[in-house]
């Protein structure tokens, strides 16, 4: 795992990649490209077949009126993109995806960190906590949504029973347009926080004890050690966790599709569901491809911004 590599590991390996003045021994091994290519070929084949080709083919589809149900396809230029830019459903579903990403990523990073710090602080029964925090992550999405459908059930669900016991009125968890997306974000946090928790815990366990000893000798209390020793050393893990999380949240589809099908009133429909609706139940593969490429552009922008921010920090 990259996060557990000691700081400076990159610096050690970097000079080996020096281009012009390469030591002869290494250079000679690399001039014979034949055997190397053979080893890489299986991967390249799979890569080309399942990644490069779909990307290229999808781009082509987005420029046609391709239909799932007909074989005749005509080139329509940028018509699909023009339609997508003027389609309010594209923008509202893109907005929903962004809202979900923000609403789920922040707690998924912060809560995972909090849980890892708690467990690492030396609570009794370590394995119980680790198991309890990680277990939901092992559930398939269908099971998770089944459980939460009943928790969120308006009449007999646990969530509303709980509110009732507190003397509060019932909430339409999945039926209220203002609440549904947050309810789904909460479910997602419960379901997937375990993975981030594990990454943080592994990082915490690999922090050198010597820095804590030094800090303690200097008279730093627990809070000071947390702020000045632990958190700064976790920065690389946080970058990794945040990046993985944002990308994972952007591609939200399954739990929403099963729970609300994008309802109520389109308020939880992520852009990927819109692509699915248009392409697979509406048969308009060309238009669906165009919308998915717009989404792809958004993902690239987000990735570039992330890269920029983290580069600056480093």
């Amino acid at each position: 795992m990259t996060t557990t590599a000691p700081p400076g590991a990159d610096a050690v390996t970097a000079p080996a990649g020096d281009r012009p003045g390469r030591p002869r021994g290494i250079g000679r091994g690399r001039t014979g490209k034949g055997p190397g290519l053979v080893f890489v070929l299986p991967f390249l084949l799979v890569f080309a077949l399942f990644l490069v080709w779909p990307v290229v083919h999808g781009l082509w589809l987005s420029l046609t009126d391709s239909s799932l149900a007909l074989r005749d396809t005509t080139f329509v230029g940028f018509d699909n993109y023009a339609e997508a830019f003027g389609d309010p459903d594209v923008w509202s579903s893109l907005g929903n995806t962004v809202v979900f990403t923000a609403a789920s990523s922040v707690p998924l990073v912060l809560i995972a960190l909090g849980m890892a710090l708690l467990v690492h602080s030396g609570l009794a029964g370590q394995w119980v906590w680790r198991l309890a925090f990680f277990a939901p992550y092992l559930l398939p999405v269908t099971v998770v949504t089944l459980i939460w459908t009943w928790l969120y059930q308006p009449e007999v669900g646990l969530a509303n029973q709980f509110l009732d016991a507190l003397g509060l009125g019932p909430v339409g968890w999945l039926s209220d347009e203002a609440v549904a997306m947050w309810a789904i974000a909460a479910l997602t946090v419960w379901w997937t926080v375990g993975f981030n928790f594990l990454l943080y815990l592994a990082a915490l366990q690999s922090l050198p004890a010597s820095s804590y000893e030094a800090a303690a000798l200097d008279g730093a209390g627990a809070w000071r050690r947390l702020w000045s020793v632990t958190l700064p050393q976790l920065r690389r893990t946080t970058v990794l966790v945040a990046m993985l999380q944002i990308l994972a949240s952007l591609k939200v589809f399954d739990q929403i599709y099963i729970l609300t099908k994008g309802g109520p009133n389109g308020s939880t429909r992520p852009v990927l569901e819109y692509v699915y609706d248009v392409g697979f139940t509406g048969y308009r593969l060309g238009y669906a491809s165009a919308v998915s490429y717009l989404f792809f552009a958004l993902v690239i922008v987000v990735s570039l911004v992330q890269l920029r921010l983290f580069r600056q920090e480093d």
């Binding site: 309802g263 139940t281 509406g282």
Partner: protein
């Protein structure tokens, strides 16, 4: 899931069973090997690539209780010397079923026979995804248009050609607890649910049922459901006599005043006090079987589920409250998905199979569906089915989705219509705004280029 009828013999010693030819053995063996090799996602393709004199491949979407009944029916026609050799593929019901069916037909290598909701025909027949039926051939096997209700038969056609043979009509109806309805004074002299006749009568019935249960009156699950609200709305809207048509290119022909009248009534009916307005589908079933309401508005296909409860179950066709009798329904129908080079002998076998299964539909009625084949309805054994026979007349006033490529069972159209209706029932929007949104949504769908024509 793929099932073979008749089931392949257990032991495969060559020449062991007298009826076991080498070809048959090879075929069964290959099928078994294929089933082992093909992972679940591939199995759909495996069946469609069947060789010419192999089993008749049939696709359907019947799971659970329906699936077992279909098994029984296929078993019944697989017996005897002229029994069918059938390979049945059960696919998951939902929008994805229609995606798979369209794709297989577009590729020209579809199954020999498939089940389709009649409401989806408009998305398939015009684009050449279905092959027409040979009515003479059907007549040879004893099935003609006179065996079906005219209203249902009319929907089997596109441009005057018949593309579907209905197996059933499955209406959206009301189930009720006979004891509670009796206590509430809603039964007629024959012990059946009395006619309503006006919006006020149904509202009043809800109040009386709520009194009788001490809890709620009429249960209706619609929250997060992508069809229920549309079923309810479409039934009531058709009762006003107004028409709802979706001409290609738009705008939709919808009587806004009638629609607002219907949605306003739905809001009054499900006021959240007498009749809850915030139930989801399974919540309404659980509530009804648990005695928390005296009546439930559901599809007839829930009959088997509801029968497992302890309540004395009654059923009636969806109550008429406006000017015209009308019930929202759909129909599971047999179609011949498009094949590039259909083998005439196989086509003939497909016609014979469909005719034979349709005649078995008394078995099918156990699931709560109304057999479309009228000679079965006329049988005394059907009249004896309780409570199915109580709502058999629903088929006569059945109203299906307006025909258009994007409408029908499991479609995005139904989902989109349900969204504003759900908001209206939950009190988040007014009836008028909900109707305006429905018109807008329909218009948006109509403005899309038609991908199947």
């Amino acid at each position: 899931m793929i099932t073979r009828f008749p089931a392949p013999p257990p032991e495969a010693a060559p020449g062991a069973a007298p009826g076991l030819t080498r070809r048959r053995l090879l075929r069964n063996g290959t099928a078994a090997a294929g089933a082992l090799l093909a992972a679940a996602p591939l199995s759909g393709c495996a069946s469609s690539a069947a060789a010419d004199n192999s089993a008749l491949s049939v696709w359907d979407l019947f799971q659970g209780g329906d699936g077992m009944l279909m098994d029984d029916m296929i078993k019944a026609v697989s017996r005897g010397p002229r029994g069918f050799d059938v390979e049945r593929t059960i696919l998951d019901w939902g929008p994805s079923y229609y995606t798979k069916l369209a794709m297989s037909a577009a590729g020209g290598r579809a199954s020999d026979v498939a089940i389709m909701h009649l409401s989806r025909l408009a998305g398939y027949a015009p684009g050449g995804l279905l092959d027409p039926f040979d009515l003479d051939l059907l007549a040879e096997f004893g099935v003609t248009r006179r065996d079906f209700l005219p209203g249902v038969w009319a929907r089997t056609q596109h441009a005057g050609t018949v593309y579907a043979v209905p197996l059933d009509v499955h209406p959206f109806i009301v189930f009720y607890d006979e004891d509670i309805a009796d206590k509430a004074g809603l039964l007629d002299s024959e012990g059946e649910l009395a006619e309503m006749g006006s919006p006020e009568a149904l509202l009043d019935a809800g109040r009386k049922l709520a009194e009788a249960t001490g809890q709620k009156g009429i249960l209706f699950g619609h929250v997060t459901d992508t069809a229920q609200n549309w079923r309810q709305f479409a039934a009531l809207y058709a009762q006003t006599g107004a028409s709802f048509t979706l001409p290609d290119g738009g705008p939709p022909q919808i009587d806004v005043d009638a629609a607002i009248r219907v949605v306003t009534f739905m809001q009054r009916l499900f006021d959240g006090r007498t009749n809850p307005n915030n139930l989801d589908y399974y919540g309404s079933i659980a509530g009804f079987t648990g005695g928390r309401g005296g009546m439930a508005m559901l599809g007839g296909w829930e009959l088997r589920t509801l029968k497992q409860s302890k309540i004395r179950l009654g059923a009636a066709r969806f109550p008429q409250v406006f000017e015209k009798p009308a019930v929202y329904a759909d129909s599971h129908s047999f179609v011949l998905p498009h094949q590039k080079n259909p083998d005439p002998a196989r086509r003939r076998e497909a016609h014979r199979y469909i005719a034979a299964i349709v005649k078995q539909s008394l078995t099918w009625a156990a699931a709560g569906h109304i057999p479309a084949y009228q000679p079965v309805i006329a049988e005394r054994r059907y009249a004896a089915l309780d409570p199915q026979s109580s709502y058999a007349d629903a088929a006569e006033v059945a109203v299906l989705d307006p025909p258009n490529w994007f409408a029908g069972a499991g479609s995005n159209f139904q989902n989109r219509m349900c969204q504003p209706l759900q908001s209206a029932l939950l009190g988040n929007t007014s009836a008028e705004k909900a109707v305006r949104q429905m018109v807008r949504e329909a218009d948006t769908l109509l403005r899309q280029p038609n991908p199947v024509a």
